[in-house]
């Protein structure tokens, strides 16, 4: 092996990664600290995890968050896949540019704008049609789906754009109707992107504080909303434990996502 030459960008990369990971590592390490004083290390203990599990309010919030994330990610995946497909496979239609804009805009819209504007719609619907009596899980699900659908659409669109049209054309040529082509050819081939889109939507929903705070009703406190109010009160070892669990959860989800992607590798290599 030749000796590694020092390079400024290489050093910056390492420094940047330390910057990104060090805080997370510290949180996880201190979640196993026995002391109530967060900075003083007195010994290894899992008592804070135990206390976490005994906190019924927190568990209920976690339940709300998981329900919302599951439902909204599923809706977002269906709609986002549809959007990605329509935008890459339907060619030109009237209003296409505007539709692209309205689908992509939530990606960069500050959360406070999205949150407030969605709340006002829900209130207006409640007033005007008595359609949505009160706010709760349903309004959070809809709000999250409308945000995360954009992410799914981008992921699916990128995958479809990178896929040669001739495979779908061949299926049509062999007698498959458009619906059959989508079901038997397109969907299986874009499945990794659809799955990745679902995971992304799930994680984003699980993580959202601002939009949920606006549209949630009094009975539906999500986990981030609870975490936020306790962080405002200060650092506590219990929150360290919760943070560690959340980091672990996303790590597990990412491993799953990587597996899904790898499972589709041979298909990709021959599609090229």
């Amino acid at each position: 092996m030749k000796p590694k030459r020092f390079s400024w960008p290489g050093a910056a990369l390492i420094a940047g990664l330390v910057f990104l990971y060090l805080p997370l590592v510290v949180v996880i390490v201190y979640s196993f600290n026995e002391s109530r004083l967060v900075t003083v290390w007195t010994g290894f203990s899992t008592r804070w995890y135990g206390e976490l599990m005994a906190d019924s309010q927190l568990l209920r919030a976690a339940g709300v968050s998981l329900t919302v994330a599951l439902l909204s990610a599923t809706i977002a995946t269906v709609l986002g896949t549809l959007a990605g497909f329509v935008l890459t496979r339907f060619g030109f239609f009237r209003g296409r540019a505007l539709l692209v804009g309205t689908i992509a805009a939530p990606l960069v819209m500050p959360e406070v704008i999205t949150g407030l504007s969605l709340l006002l719609v829900f209130v207006a619907l409640e007033q005007g049609f008595a359609w949505m009596p009160g706010r709760g899980i349903l309004t959070i699900v809809l709000a999250h789906a409308s945000l995360t659908m954009s992410y799914v659409a981008i992921v699916v669109q990128a995958r479809l754009a990178g896929m040669e049209r001739d495979i779908e054309e061949a299926a049509a040529d062999l007698g498959a109707t458009p619906a059959t082509v989508f079901r038997t050819i397109t969907l299986p081939l874009i499945f990794p992107a659809v799955a990745a889109g679902w995971l992304l939507a799930f994680v984003l929903s699980l993580d959202d504080l601002v939009i949920a705070s606006f549209v949630a009703g009094p009975q539906s406190t999500t986990l981030p909303m609870m975490v936020f109010s306790s962080i405002r009160l200060g650092v506590s070892p219990k929150i360290n434990a919760l943070a560690a669990i959340l980091v672990l959860l996303t790590a597990v989800l990412l491993v799953v996502a990587a597996r899904v992607q790898r499972g589709s590798k041979p298909a990709e290599s021959s599609a090229g």
Partner: protein, 288 residues
């Protein structure tokens, strides 16, 4: 209606209900008056079906220095944080793009991973590090470098740090996408023609990576302007940002019309950059 038109109609209906309509209602309520009750604002049409539009909320935004300062504070904070993120992110993206091909995905994954972990957890982690009795102060005091704890939490500096920390992956990704496509033989040609490495970088790499720089800066700048959580948790009482003002008007003062007016103006400020991002997105400059 054909099936094709039906599918397009579903998307239109969804976008109209949850994107276009909300923005229209924001505009509508921003010209309403506050009242006590549910909802806490007056109707757009009064009993005689006359439009009651009231521009007082907007004139308040421009006369009350609190709002003007908050808007300017947000723009300033977002600008500085974006600049720091660019200076940190560029060498990182460059290093990844120049790494051996089989390592690039791994490095990129490492940069993107924190984005997947909880945003609140990441901000929380910094509170633990920065506060007066936090890890950094404890370590520095133990080493005898400082006598009294440094005041780091609840400062503007902490807000910059939080924004950079949160959005750094958004900067690195489009920069990497651009730098990775850059043909290494162009740099070799520049060197061959007698340019020093630094001159070659300035004359070739930098201009060719400009679309990535623009994309990365916009992706950090836009959400940073509207940021609420970071200034709330890491900033001090003097950290005036518009996201915080909006939140307080809405949740604390329950003044929905003013909150709507604040939102409308924020939206107008960000329309140009948002449209810009969409252009870049359509051209495929945002991601590898």
């Amino acid at each position: 209606m054909t099936r094709r038109q039906g599918l397009i109609a579903i998307l239109w209906l969804w976008s109209a209900a949850l994107f276009v309509l909300p923005l229209i209602i924001v505009l509508k309520i921003s010209v309403a008056e506050t009242r006590l009750g549910v909802p806490p604002y007056t109707a757009f049409f009064d009993a005689a079906h006359h439009v009651t539009a009231n521009t007082e909320n907007y004139s308040r935004l421009f006369t009350d220095s609190l709002y003007v300062k908050a808007y300017l504070g947000s723009l300033k904070t977002a600008f500085i944080a974006t600049l720091i993120a660019l200076l940190m992110g560029y060498p990182m993206a460059y290093a990844i793009a120049r790494a051996p091909a089989h390592r690039r995905d791994l490095w990129l994954l490492l940069v993107m991973l924190p984005f997947w972990t909880s945003f609140l957890v990441r901000i929380y982690a910094w509170i633990g590090l920065l506060r007066p009795s936090g890890i950094i102060n404890t370590v520095l005091q133990a080493l005898g470098i400082i006598d009294a704890p440094l005041h780091m939490l609840n400062t503007n500096g902490a807000v910059y740090l939080g924004i950079v920390y949160t959005y750094l992956p958004f900067m690195v990704l489009p920069l990497y996408a651009r730098l990775e496509k850059l043909d290494a033989s162009l740099l070799e040609a520049a060197r061959d023609l007698g340019a020093t490495p630094w001159r070659a970088f300035c004359a070739v790499t930098l201009p060719l990576s400009m679309p990535g720089i623009v994309a990365g800066c916009l992706l950090v700048f836009i959400p940073a302007v509207g940021e609420f959580v970071i200034p709330e948790l890491l900033g001090g009482p003097n950290t005036l940002m518009i996201g915080r003002v909006l939140w307080n008007e809405f949740f604390t003062n329950r003044d929905w019309p003013v909150a709507s007016a604040v939102t409308a103006v924020l939206l107008i400020l960000l329309v140009a950059p948002i449209v810009w991002v969409q252009r870049l997105q359509a051209r495929g400059d945002l991601a590898p």
